[in-house]
């Protein structure tokens, strides 16, 4: 299968990776980057339960790489995209991350959308010094030099959305979420923002991800009589909530706001009768009416074909990730890991389809515009835009310039 010289090369590279702390000159990436191409990894769930998030993100990432290559590549090199299908099986993530780092010598890896897959992948990439680009919306609090978050944390969505909702919809909120980390974090934000806005959380419920019967939930909400419902239900089974909610005639009575609705294309799967009026907050949606976005969509139509998936606030990270990383590589002037990390010590600005984005050096998270919008017949209608929303730094706790060794996920406290 493998000839001796290549194996030796890889072994040298691997030893180099292990010794990278002592001698960065030998690191795997620098050995490989001398070739004609450099490899970049995409590790998304392309099959299984969470493929609805993985497939569009991967498609956007492919598009970004194709555009970089078409424009002459990066630092004169073509980029080769290595694809790994996580198969919605968390166990596969650390294994593929190892494969990407050690065997395929990627100089960057993007993906691992679900919190669990991210946590399984992150330490591996840290160990082998492969920059990890995280392209999805998530619970917030990622604070690690090696992790570049190009989408938004829940704070960046929840603060504008709930401030708006307490102002426009009423003071009583019922929070319903899937039972895992991100929705629980967003629950903390909901309580926090209710306090700040003089509102009350009249109920807080968490449902396991495979629940499909929401009749008790709906009864509980009806009993609590909130002014609006904040939903953080995630995934296919939970779409049942919106159906059962609308079937009970509640959609027209109590409004729903959400920071995750639409991320799994819920507004396409469900019918307008079941979704019209639901309010969300994202950094991107296809209906943004700017020349930059119209141009982006035209190119997307061309590269992905007519049957391309809807590009939502999660999938867009697949495109912005490689682009912002490419900006950083250009600044570094090299694919070398240490050079890139140095380059990231100052803010990096890039204008994308949704406007100006700034990758903040302190948090390695991204400042961007947030849009509050509403579903109307399977399309989004803009209600309000808040420009350049900063990532939350947890009262200064996340400062990677001062404390570059932090790897822990920070959790908001009420």
């Amino acid at each position: 299968m493998m000839n001796i010289s290549r194996r030796n090369l890889i072994k040298t590279g691997a030893v180099g990776v292990l010794a990278a702390g002592v001698s960065p000159m030998l690191s795997a990436t620098s050995v490989f980057a001398q070739g004609e191409t450099v490899a970049v990894g995409s590790l998304h769930d392309l099959t299984g339960g969470t493929d609805v998030y993985g497939v569009p993100s991967h498609a956007c990432m492919k598009m970004a790489i194709a555009e970089i290559n078409a424009a002459g590549g990066l630092l004169g090199k073509q980029i080769e995209l290595k694809t790994y299908d996580g198969q919605s099986d968390i166990k596969k993530f650390p294994q593929y991350a190892q494969q990407a780092a050690l065997q395929d010598k990627v100089v960057m890896l993007q993906g691992a959308i679900t919190g669990a897959s991210r946590e399984a992948t992150r330490p591996v990439l840290r160990r082998y010094k492969v920059p990890f680009v995280y392209g999805t919306i998530y619970e917030g609090g990622l604070c690690e030099t090696n992790a570049i978050s190009v989408n938004t944390g829940s704070d960046q969505q929840a603060i504008p959305l709930l401030d708006w909702s307490f102002k426009n919809l009423g003071k009583k909120v019922f929070y319903i979420g899937a039972d895992y980390n991100a929705p629980r974090n967003i629950g903390i934000w909901t309580n926090h923002l209710a306090n700040q806005n003089g509102g009350t959380v009249v109920g807080e419920e968490y449902y396991p991800l495979d629940v499909t019967d929401f009749s008790t939930a709906i009864a509980k909400i009806q009993a609590a009589k909130p002014d609006y419902v904040h939903s953080c239900l995630v995934g296919g089974p939970h779409m049942a909530f919106y159906r059962q909610w609308a079937a009970a005639g509640m959609l027209k009575k109590i409004p729903i706001v959400s920071v995750v609705f639409g991320g799994g294309n819920e507004h396409m799967v469900l019918t307008p009768e079941e979704t019209d009026g639901i309010i969300v907050a994202y950094n991107y949606f296809e209906e943004i009416d700017t020349p930059a976005n119209r141009d982006f969509l035209a190119r997307a139509d061309k590269t992905m074909g007519a049957s391309r998936p809807y590009i939502n606030g999660i999938a867009i990270g697949g495109y912005t990730g490689p682009m912002i990383w490419a900006e950083a590589v250009k600044r570094a002037g090299s694919f070398d890991y240490a050079a890139l990390m140095d380059a990231l010590k100052t803010d990096i600005e890039w204008a994308g389809p949704s406007g100006k984005m700034v990758l903040e050096a302190k948090t390695r998270s991204t400042i961007q515009d947030m849009h509050i919008m509403q579903v109307e017949n399977r399309k989004w209608k803009l209600l309000e835009t808040q420009s350049q929303v900063r990532p939350f730094d947890f009262g200064g706790a996340c400062d990677l310039l001062a404390n570059p060794r932090n790897t822990e996920i920070l959790v908001p406290k009420v």
Partner: protein, 287 residues
């Protein structure tokens, strides 16, 4: 008062859903002792058949009540003839086989239709009880599940095929000495079981997220219900549903849904400890 009523409806919905998603599996397991790992995918196919034919202009009720079960029964028959038939009596091989089938079906549907399909809304609107409003379709599901159980009971006890099915299930070898071809009975039962799963999928299509992987969220619960129910298809499954549905709904209502789900599973464990051959065996012993 209205709160009691709404709670009762929520509990009845829990029972009805359990009955609907378990019946097809129960028929196949009860008759042939096959643990059908592709059960969830049969439900998924039923939901897809409903959604796709409705989107193509078919009347929703026909799509749900006729097309979905008929289509999935055909698929089931095909699977039985091509795959399962050769491995009857071999629990392990059929498990492996139906697991492969399950992945194959998820993969094919994803490849054909992608992972986002435009769904259909629940018909019939809603009714209001005091402070609460409830979906009429939900009430329809409860009534339909009750009718389905009743119909199945009549079918099994009053028809020629029902008699053959019960006889073959109890003792296939003896049935064959009476001129009955167990192979054909198995094929027909497999098709009926698949058709019932398809019907469940069709009925759930307007109230759940119709996606290629949707089967996964039903399959564990259906397994637990069917096996805790024991060998008697109808009595066991319905009995188990009547026990587990309220437990989950009530515990979820007074504490959290996680504890509700855990208490369903704990109830199943306790039940099987007390009645080691399943619920229906316990019934039979006491009568």
């Amino acid at each position: 008062m209205d709160q009691v009523l709404v709670t009762a409806i929520a509990i009845a919905t829990g029972i009805a859903t359990l009955v609907l998603i378990s019946l097809g599996l129960a028929v196949i397991f009860g008759m042939m002792r096959i643990i059908n790992f592709a059960h969830g995918e049969f439900i998924m196919l039923g939901a897809y058949a409903t959604v796709l034919s409705t989107n193509a202009g078919m009347n929703l009720w026909i799509a749900m009540l006729v097309i979905a079960p008929a289509f999935v029964a055909l698929v089931g028959l095909g699977c039985e003839r091509l795959l399962i038939r050769r491995y009857y009596g071999n629990l392990t091989t059929t498990m492996l086989l139906t697991w492969g089938l399950s992945l194959f079906l998820v993969g094919s549907v994803t490849a054909l239709f992608g992972n986002t399909t435009r769904g259909i809304a629940a018909p019939l609107g809603s009714v209001t009880f005091g402070n609460y409003s409830v979906s009429v379709y939900q009430l329809f599901l409860i009534a339909f599940a009750a009718l389905l159980v009743l119909g199945a009971a009549l079918f099994l006890t009053r028809t020629r095929f029902g008699l053959i099915a019960r006889g073959t299930m109890q003792n296939p070898a003896m049935a064959s000495t009476l001129g009955i071809d167990p192979g054909r009975v198995y094929a027909a039962t497999f098709a009926v079981g698949a058709g019932l799963s398809g019907l469940a999928g069709g009925l759930l299509a307007p109230v759940s997220g119709v996606l290629p992987n949707m089967g996964a969220s039903y399959v564990a619960k259906a397994f637990v219900t069917v096996i805790a129910g024991g060998s008697s298809v109808l009595v066991g499954t319905t009995g188990a549903a009547f026990m587990f549905g309220p437990i989950e709904a009530i515990v979820s209502l007074i504490s959290t849904p996680v504890i509700g789900q855990a208490s369903l599973l704990a109830a199943a464990i306790l039940l099987l400890r007390l009645m080691p051959m399943g619920l229906s065996a316990g019934f039979r012993r006491s009568t």
